[in-house]
């Protein structure tokens, strides 16, 4: 199972930028314990939501041919807590992209308020510097991501059961 930390894309400009939303809810069980009596979305999961938004943006720009893997967190600064009931807007933009990797800039907004600034780097696994080989199937962009994209009106990678 993959944990998907974005609900929908509300903006998608191929090769440039994308905005996804994540609705934080009390139905997410981990929030009950993080923290007892003070439920907030873990910051590491906000990083993951950015990695998914920005990673799909990077993947789409290469027709989902590359296995796009989070390789480095260049910056992650948090200004506010994200709580149940919050709608987070995850803004990601591609800063640089090369054969082997891509770098992205991003911020997470709640209305006008900036919740976090998160800049990431992604590696294109099959073009990795070490020359390591990985399975042929693209295990990064799975069906669940396709569903999120399709529900957002953005073409995603072809789903497994349709192949």
């Amino acid at each position: 199972m993959r944990w998907i930390w974005i609900d929908k894309f509300v903006e998608f400009n191929s090769g440039k930028n994308a905005v996804a939303i994540k609705n934080v809810t009390m139905a997410e069980e981990h929030i009950h314990d993080h923290f007892p009596g003070f439920p907030i979305m873990p910051e590491c999961l906000m990083i993951e939501s950015m990695a998914q938004t920005a990673g799909i943006l990077v993947g789409e720009s290469g027709g989902y041919a590359e296995k796009v893997i989070l390789a480095k967190i260049k910056k992650a600064v948090f200004f506010h807590y994200a709580q149940p009931g919050d709608t987070l807007e995850i803004h990601a933009e591609i800063e640089s992209i090369a054969e082997e990797a891509a770098s992205t800039k991003g911020k997470i907004m709640r209305g006008e308020e900036m919740v976090a600034e998160i800049d990431l780097m992604f590696s294109h696994l099959d073009n990795n510097i070490g020359g390591k080989e990985f399975p042929e199937e693209n295990f990064v962009f799975t069906d669940l991501f396709s569903v999120v994209l399709r529900n957002s009106g953005v073409p995603g990678p072809k789903m497994e059961y349709m192949k």
């Binding site: 640089s96 090369a98 770098s103 990795n128 510097i129 070490g130 020359g131």
Partner: protein
Amino acid sequence: MAMSREQILEQIQDVLIEALGVDDDEVTPEATLMGDLGAESIDFLDIVFRMEKAFGLKIPREELFPAEALMGSEEFVADGKLTDKGLEELKTRMPHSDLSKFEADPQVSKIGDLFTVEVLVNFVELKLNA
């Protein structure tokens, strides 16, 4: 764009402080990126992207860090050392580096030490004056 070596060094220092999370006093011209500053493979790409931005240059990674391209070839590497041909190739590809010390004992495992802060400065200087 006319930039002095000092200005280039300052910009490179900023790039490395940001990319590697190191302190400014660690980023001396002699410091090696891997050994002294702890750079890993993905950091090299981060550094390239940041340098492109800082200097407005297009920098192919294999031009700045050309050593990997030699590794897979028997012609260039034998018994963990660069062959004469390999050394020649590296010299041609790395005009921004002084290989005189490395030449005496061209072990592949020591290639990482060639990438110093100064080498990045040399590279940018050559590029800007090209």
